[in-house]
């Protein structure tokens, strides 16, 4: 292989022998991602990592001039696993721009659909895609001693989930043949049926509209949803203890495993599930209704909550070009100079972004991806923070826990934990799980949070179901409110896509879309080095990852890197590849070195 030219950072100190290892494409994620690394096998660590995306589609370009009512239909197509999150977020932005508030029942039904999406998507991802990295086949290939230990380790929660040893859990996760893998695939199907009951079709909903939802609110729809929800609650009572056992075992079997995928605690959550009691979609009230969301928004830096105010979150958004294939828009039009509250809006804010694609050769010393670098401007320090979403759940639970605002019959945020209560089901008693704020933002805790958030979404759905039924029983069955499209308006929507922060920003002029910029979680996670040289979160998390795999460069699987990257739940219909390349030995000395290049097969 040749000319994967990686820029060499100046290395102080002695000679390091680095081997270039690349994975392109990274499979078992959505979209195309490549991860290019240099590994120091002697010291068992990753020295450098570059993440690259290989697809450009141009939504922000082709949406210009279109009818603003079409935005949710179009943007749903951004993502093939959480397209409905986009459609919903677009509807939130449309509601703000059009000045419309759905009837409460419409809001509860959208919340039910979105809860089903979390239940489905995390389920499929956790045990049919990520789970494979922890399955028997994989562990035997990468760490046979861990497999031996797993066979000798009883599962502490065996009576709750039914698997006697940790090895039994691993076997059950083998793709397609594993018992638990197959059960999860089934669970991912009936949860999608729940989704379809509310939003019509998965993954691009048919029944969502600005102003609410078109699904006729019948007792039958709610019954069909409820019977599946109860089934999932029972499933969760096994799944959460199962994952606790599996993940705790990795800490025990591989001391130091907390370092895999670890990075500084820099988390963002934009909040999920609007409360129809307070959410009027008016920007001037956004701070209040944002805090009333059933998953609380928040920016967390070094474990501290910086803000849970959606207006502040909005004002801090910056899109930096960094190492991506676009031209700068510094001379383009400023669409929004001030927000409706009079706060100044930055040129690099999504409302003012102009997307100018510039296809070019991939150059790791220059531009190497289609992903831009979103950052959050911390006005306290002047830093452009590379927030990550940790794949979604860890940031959602962390922000919700710290804020301590969510207080439902089934969910309580305590200030340092989130308590999730699932009611009695057919064969299992009422069960409470408590997610406690972890010590680290790392691969294992991202994965663990996912399983707890599945339970969270399930518990929240019980609340939404009860509230929706109250409306139906009271005869308030309207699900949609009429609106007119204004000639001039701006709007923004904040939501949590399954894998984290999601925002849509729209500018309407002459009744048409003048500017539209969606920011899904993956650009936050998969972005390249920005103009300040700050690496994106995948790059950062992989660069800190020690290597526990036994295999040397000849048959290296990169499993620890895979676990680090997949813990973010990469979803790159905006692009990424990991690439299991041939090995190439580099000598890196204390001088900068370029042109790693060269050898052929």
């Amino acid at each position: 292989m040749a000319t994967t030219v990686l820029p060499q950072k100046e290395q102080s100190g002695s000679t390091r022998k680095l081997v270039e290892m690349n994975w392109d494409p990274i499979t078992r994620i959505v979209g195309s991602l490549g991860i290019f690394t240099k590994i120091d096998f002697e010291n068992r660590e990753v020295a450098e990592c570059y993440s690259t995306s290989s697809i450009f589609r141009g939504y922000s370009v082709f949406m210009k001039g279109k009818d603003p009512r079409d935005a949710h239909f179009i943007t749903s197509r951004i993502c093939g696993i959480c397209g409905d999150n986009h459609a919903t977020c677009a509807v939130y932005a449309q509601n703000m721009a059009f000045g419309v508030k759905p009837p409460p029942l419409g809001e509860w039904m959208i919340n039910l659909g979105e809860a089903a999406e979390y239940m489905f998507d995390h389920c499929l991802y956790q045990d049919n895609l990520v789970g494979v990295d922890f399955c028997e086949n994989m562990v035997k290939e990468t760490n046979p001693e861990v497999w031996t230990k797993a066979q000798q380790t009883s599962a502490p929660n065996a009576e709750k989930h039914g698997f006697r040893t940790i090895a039994d859990i691993m076997t059950a996760l083998n793709p397609f043949t594993g018992e638990f893998y197959r059960e999860t695939l089934q669970a991912s199907r009936y949860t999608r049926e729940m989704f379809c009951l509310m939003e019509g079709r998965h993954v691009h909903p048919s029944t969502l509209y600005p102003g609410g939802i078109g699904t006729p609110a019948t007792v039958q729809v709610f019954t069909d949803f409820a019977v599946r929800l109860v089934r999932y609650a029972e499933f969760m009572k096994r799944v959460v203890p199962l994952h606790d056992d599996l993940f705790n075992f990795f800490y025990e079997a591989l001391p130091g495993y907390e370092k895999v995928g670890q990075r500084r605690i820099l988390l963002g959550c934009w909040g999920s599930f609007n409360d129809p009691e307070t959410c009027d979609y008016k920007y001037k009230n956004m701070s209040e209704w944002g805090r009333n969301m059933f998953v609380t928004p928040g920016v967390i830096v070094d474990g501290q909550l910086v803000t849970n105010d959606l207006v502040q979150i909005n004002l801090g958004m910056r899109i930096l070009l960094g190492s991506s294939y676009y031209d700068s828009w510094e001379n383009a039009e400023m669409f929004v100079k001030r927000d409706p509250l009079g706060n100044p809006i930055d040129r690099n804010h999504p409302w003012n972004q102009t997307t100018i694609p510039k296809p070019q050769k991939r150059d790791f010393a220059g531009n190497y991806t289609w992903v831009m670098s979103p950052r959050w401007f911390d006005k306290r320090t002047g830093d452009h923070l590379a927030l990550d979403t940790g794949g979604g759940p860890i940031a959602r639970l962390w922000a919700t826990a710290l804020s301590g605002l969510v207080n439902l019959e089934y969910i309580k945020a305590t200030g340092n934990s989130v308590k999730i209560r699932l009611p009695k089901t057919a064969l299992k008693p009422e069960t409470e799980f408590e997610w406690k704020i972890p010590q680290w933002s790392n691969a294992i805790e991202r994965d663990r949070a996912r399983t707890y958030f599945q339970a969270y979404a399930c518990a929240a759905a019980f609340h939404f179901l009860e509230q929706g039924m109250k409306e139906i029983h009271a005869g308030r069955t309207k699900t949609w409110s009429e609106f007119t499209v204004p000639e001039e308006a701006i709007g923004c929507g904040f939501h949590e896509a399954v894998r984290g922060v999601l925002s849509h920003h729209v500018v309407i002029r002459d009744g048409k879309i003048a500017n539209y910029h969606p920011y899904p979680p993956t650009p936050w996670n998969a972005n390249p080095r920005d103009i300040y040289g700050t690496p994106g979160p995948y790059e950062d998390a992989v660069q800190n990852t020690p290597i526990f795999e036994n295999n040397g460069p000849e048959n290296f699987k990169g499993i620890d890197i895979m676990r680090a990257v997949r813990s973010f739940d990469p979803c790159l219909p905006c692009g990424v590849h990991m690439y299991d390349g041939e090995t190439k030995v580099l000598e890196t000395r204390h001088v900068p070195m370029y042109g790693v290049g060269g050898s052929k097969e």
């Binding site: 990274i26 009512r69 510039k358 590849h577």
Partner: protein, 359 residues
């Protein structure tokens, strides 16, 4: 690779027209690296008629063993995954069916770089474009399937004003393209593809490969006729409202949606019959306007989606007077049939008309 066992590669394809034993193994190479969203791959994980497990584990008698190479589901990563694609290119993975997901960008319209790519070229270190992969693999494939509307006709990313010039597979390979086994491109549109529509099409092709079915019947847009031969409206359980001239004027109504944007009467799709999963969900049948997502003219010819289609204005006016009259007559009859006959009572004598017959 995802398959029931690790058996060896199947027999190679018999020469055109020659009778030979059907292959024991078939590989499915699936490229998701078009301009898409992977929504079609995700969709097939929802399929149950048949499910992906049914196909892979030989739950259906008579089929060859199937080995699936799809990036969303693959055990392998990076080069270990790409190896199957290189093997197929080199003729070492025969026979195989190529599935393409996502629209095909026009890589000729720019000086350098790429719009869509999969894997890295070992010689140049640059990404290998998706177009390049199609060029390499299509001539060697037993069949080529376009999965979803992006791959079949261009879809959402081929909307007016798009910067990539993207298109469907048949626009790229040619509408008269034939595989080396003589099959046209097989298009299974839908945004995303309806889960069972896709797995069922694969099943049909596997039957065909096994010599158990004749040539797959396709229409002039290369769609399986049994899936796309009828319109949404013809299968819609709200069509009765249409017949009675009773139209929804707002969303959330259970009535016919044509006046609030539904294109069902002119769109080829079976979603109203089949639902989305296990008969649940769909589009107009559950309150979602049909936006024509299976169609070659999608999306531009259906936008703005929420306006009444121009044709519907004429046809709904036509049905108006007739529908009103029919509705009134049916309402009267409905009132009648909602009453039980008068002989069902608890009084002391029988009024059913029964007489004891005496002999």
């Amino acid at each position: 690779m995802v398959s029931g066992s690790n058996s060896a590669n199947g027999a190679s394809l018999p020469p055109n027209g020659a009778k030979a034993a059907p292959p024991t193994d078939v590989h499915i190479l699936w490229i998701t690296a078009g301009l898409g969203c992977d929504g079609d791959s995700v969709s097939i994980t929802a399929a149950e008629q048949p499910s992906i497990e049914d196909i892979l584990f030989g739950a259906i008698p008579g089929l060859p063993k199937v080995h699936l190479h799809n990036p969303v589901l693959a055990y392998e990563v990076g080069d270990e995954f790409m190896k199957f694609f290189y093997d197929a290119e080199a003729g070492r993975l025969e026979p195989f069916v190529l599935v393409v997901e996502g629209s095909i960008p026009n890589e000729n319209i720019k000086r350098e770089g790429y719009w869509a790519a999969m894997g890295t070229d070992p010689d140049t270190g640059q990404p290998i474009t998706t177009c390049e992969w199609i060029d390499r693999l299509a001539p060697k494939a037993l069949a080529v399937i376009g999965c979803g509307t992006c791959a079949t006709y261009g879809g959402i990313h081929a909307m007016a004003g798009n910067p990539t010039g993207c298109m469907g597979l048949a626009d790229y390979l040619g509408w008269n393209w034939r595989s080396k086994a003589g099959l046209p491109i097989v298009n299974v549109p839908g945004c995303p593809v309806q889960p069972d529509n896709f797995t069922e099409t694969v099943l049909y092709l596997l039957y065909q490969v096994a010599g158990l079915a004749p040539m797959i019947p396709l229409d002039d847009q290369l769609r399986p006729t049994w899936l796309f031969g009828k319109t949404v409206h013809e299968g819609c359980d709200r069509a009765g409202y249409y017949e009675q001239g009773d139209f929804a004027l707002e969303y959330g109504s259970p009535k016919c949606l044509v006046k609030v944007g539904c294109w069902g009467p002119v769109v080829n799709c079976n979603v109203t019959k089949r639902g989305w999963m296990r008969g649940i969900g769909g589009c107009p049948n559950v309150g979602g306007i049909c936006i024509g997502c299976t169609m070659p003219g999608f999306p531009d010819k259906f936008m703005p989606f929420m306006d009444e289609p121009p044709g519907a204005r004429v046809s709904t006016a036509g049905i108006g007077a007739y529908g009103k009259m029919i509705r009134a007559l049916r309402s009267m009859t409905n009132t009648t049939v909602n009453k039980e006959p008068k002989w069902r009572h608890n009084r002391a004598h029988l009024t059913t008309g029964y007489r004891v017959e005496r002999h």
